[in-house]
């Protein structure tokens, strides 16, 4: 066993911290502080991606030859920790975390050449078209249909829970190309060059936090080229499953973000009186609960480090599901504690003050402004990317082979 504590790492940490202290614009910083979801405010997030891209730091989890940084695991965690300390907006996962790694693994050379540059630079933003109104947990039952027609497919049907589709200029999606055999057969994985094809309509859905984050996407005779197919026709399920390991397993560690939530809760609690006297941050009950959460997040961090360093734990077929389950439930617990600190301060609905660049004065603190939207938004984390019920099914099923 070995962890690198070389002094060069501290120099690296200083370099990263220095960059984060100087490179982001005020709007990017504000967007980071006002992020109340896994998905940061779009515009500033993409501006920040451009800056990171130019620095060469946009995709630490990618292979170096495809645009990654070639950092050690230690460096990657230092980067993630400093990133969160600076409260910078997390980059959107759909492009860099999902379709990018997928194309590196399974795309044709042409697809890689065509799409990876825009994914890295942030010139393109990809939406993920998986779920349908009647195909949520039961994703394989999807029915959005693509009929081959010459060199094209003609798509009819709809997708739902398509995060930030209203911001996206590209989209990857699963379509049904055959009704033969098992439902997992007959699914094809497609890349769409545009989101404004004739016949394609995007309707944002207002979430319980008041923000339009998810969308419904309708397809009416939408004609797209077959060259956007990844893998063979009718074999998209395997492609999707491969991608899910990226979506759920995550090359990017979640624990630094979660730990930062705890820090913010602690900071806010230091300024909040406890009804039992003193400040909340020194209240034993608060400390007990925050300590339990921090310990659990620490364990996730340990788990992530084992995984990223190539320990056998990450080769367990259940790994992506375990990781997704832990991560999503910790987001909910962290945001629950944050909302608890805000108390009745979280009952104020003041969405306009949450906009980046807003000149509306918040009624409470900035912390109070974000804690409740974050709590509400986090209800979705145990539902999306395969509900946690499905994840637990998969984990249990994996035991049969163990």
């Amino acid at each position: 066993m070995n962890i690198d504590f070389a002094p060069e790492l501290e120099a690296f940490r200083a370099e990263v911290a220095q960059f984060f202290a100087t490179a982001p614009t005020p709007a990017i910083r504000e967007a980071g502080r006002k992020t109340t979801s896994v998905f940061a405010p779009f515009k500033e997030c993409m501006e920040w991606q451009r800056i990171l891209f130019e620095k060469g730091w946009v995709a630490p989890h990618w292979p170096k030859e495809s645009g990654g940084t070639g950092w050690s695991v230690e460096q990657r965690f230092i980067f993630a920790e400093e990133y969160r300390k600076a409260d910078l907006p997390p980059l959107l996962p759909q492009s860099l975390g999902m379709v990018g790694p997928l194309l590196i693994d399974l795309g044709t050379e042409e697809q890689k050449a065509r799409y990876l540059p825009g994914i890295l630079s942030g010139d393109d933003f990809w939406a993920q078209g998986y779920s349908e109104p009647n195909s949520g947990s039961d994703l394989a039952s999807l029915s959005c249909r693509a009929a081959a027609d010459g060199d094209d497919y003609i798509i009819n049907g709809s997708k739902i829970w398509t995060t930030y589709a209203h911001h996206a200029n590209r989209m990857f999606m699963l379509v049904r190309t055959s009704n033969e055999g098992k439902k997992q057969q007959g699914i094809t994985f497609l890349l769409l060059d545009r989101t404004d094809y004739p016949g394609m309509t995007i309707r944002p859905i207002i979430g319980l936090d008041g923000f339009p984050e998810q969308c419904e996407v309708f397809f009416e005779d939408v004609r797209v080229p077959q060259s956007g197919r990844v893998g063979a026709e009718n074999e998209g399920w395997a492609v999707a499953k491969h991608l899910l390991t990226h979506e759920r397993g995550g090359g990017n560690a979640a624990s630094p973000t979660l730990m930062r939530y705890c820090e913010r809760a602690r900071e806010a609690a230091a300024a909040t009186p406890s009804p039992f006297g003193g400040m909340l941050a020194t209240d034993p009950v608060f400390q007990r609960e925050l300590g339990e959460l921090e310990a659990d997040i620490a364990s996730l961090g340990h788990f992530e480090k084992l995984a990223i360093s190539g320990h056998a734990i990450a080769r367990d077929p259940a790994f992506p599901s375990i990781n997704k389950t832990i991560n999503s439930e910790l987001i909910q617990r962290a945001s629950t504690i944050m909302a608890q600190v805000s108390g009745v301060g979280g009952l104020v609905r003041q969405l306009e003050a949450l906009r980046v660049g807003s000149n509306v004065e918040p009624l409470g603190s900035e912390f109070d402004l974000i804690s409740m939207p974050l709590y509400l938004n986090s209800r979705a984390t145990t539902i999306y990317a395969g509900s946690n019920e499905v994840q637990r099914d998969l984990i249990a099923r994996s035991l049969a082979g163990a």
Binding site: S141, L208, G210, Q214, P273, P275, Q340, L363, R379, I383
Partner: protein
């Protein structure tokens, strides 16, 4: 022991239930929440016509001589329909305070409130959670025959629209007391907003605002809050019951993998847990109501009801959203709105964590 609603209470529930079903369905309610109106004047008038505004007051006071169990009986329906009108604030908190005061101005306002002619808001909350009168820190300074108030009150339901305010502050003796302030008084600076559960509220700055003491007898304020908390909990229990029914119905009709999701044991057991939670909360509501009706509810009894309702309500809300999946996380479906109402009920007047700890102090 008997914890059943009387026939009269059942009739009241039937009438109000019918009215709300017809005129306060979810779509109507959502239009109202998205409108400029703080709440529905028409609904308020209906509540007045049903006698609800005068119900909890004795006939000598000009009321209808109703009991706390009468209020609980219809408040469950308010929760079921996510009613945003300031009933608890105006009728359960401000009005009893006004009624208990010998001050003639208070008596006037009381008559107007129960007559449906005015709304008087209750300004109590001061920070991130003011669980009881003992936590009030605003002080009232004597100023001639009256007082002046300075400081801030938060989350004053109907605070910007009310015709007057009942304000909790420390009296000269240092004890928590109530004061009457007229709307529009100099130095009053409300900032209005909607709460996450759609109600109209305000944070109000007080800058040397003239106020009149209500001079209530010793324990009156605690008793008023205790009854209001019961009614607030009844609303929460009503919302919980609605969520249980809606979620069970959804789980039995929504299909995934070719079968209703209720046939998945994980979903079935979550429905069972919701039912268990609801059974506990409703039992505590009815029992505590009966205790209060007999004048025997202690602070601990109220704390138990408040804590249980808060914790179980949150759990039911979260379970309902998880069971609904994606649609549960939208603004479009009523499920998330119930959850937000339950969160609000938990947070106001001390959340479950606060009350559990008070209970544990023994």
């Amino acid at each position: 022991m008997d914890f059943n609603y009387t026939e009269e209470q059942q009739m009241l529930r039937d009438s109000i239930g019918k009215y709300l079903e017809k005129s306060y369905d979810f779509d109507t309610r959502q239009k109202l929440v998205r409108s400029e109106a703080a709440w529905s004047q028409e609904a308020w008038q209906q509540f007045a016509d049903f006698g609800l505004l005068a119900l909890p007051f004795s006939e000598e006071q000009g009321g209808l001589g109703g009991s706390i169990s009468d209020c609980v009986a219809f408040a469950e329906l308010f929760g079921k329909h996510l009613v945003i009108e300031p009933y608890t604030s105006a009728v359960m908190l401000s009005a009893p305070a006004l009624a208990a005061s010998a001050n003639p101005a208070a008596q006037d306002w009381f008559a107007k409130v129960i007559g449906g002619e005015a709304v008087v808001a209750f300004a109590f909350e001061e920070g991130h959670g003011t669980p009881s009168a003992a936590h009030i820190t605003m002080t009232a300074e004597a100023d001639g025959a009256g007082y002046v108030l300075s400081g801030e009150k938060r989350l004053v339901i109907a605070g910007a629209e009310a015709h007057a305010l009942v304000v909790a502050a420390r009296s000269q003796e240092g004890a928590p007391a109530l004061f009457l302030v007229e709307a529009g008084a100099a130095g009053l600076q409300p900032r209005a907003y909607r709460t996450i559960d759609g109600r109209s509220a305000a944070d109000i700055r007080f800058d040397q605002v003239k106020a009149t003491a209500l001079d209530l007898p010793g324990k009156a304020l605690d008793d008023i809050i205790a009854h209001a908390v019961i009614v607030q909990c009844a609303e929460a229990v009503g919302a919980m019951g609605a969520l249980c029914a809606i979620t069970a119905e959804y789980a039995m009709t929504r299909k995934q993998f070719g079968v209703p999701i209720a046939t998945f044991q994980a979903v079935a057991h979550r429905l069972a847990d919701m039912k268990i939670a609801y059974s506990k909360a409703r039992a505590s509501l009815l029992y505590t109501t009966a205790l209060a009706q007999g004048g025997a509810a202690t602070q601990r009894d109220i704390a138990i009801l408040k804590a249980q309702t808060g914790k179980l309500g949150r759990a039911i809300g979260e379970a309902a959203i998880q069971t609904h999946g994606g649609v549960g996380t939208t603004d479009e479906l009523n499920v998330s709105h119930y959850h937000k109402r339950l969160i609000a009920c938990d947070a106001m007047f001390g959340d479950h964590a606060y009350h559990f700890r008070k209970i544990g102090e023994g």
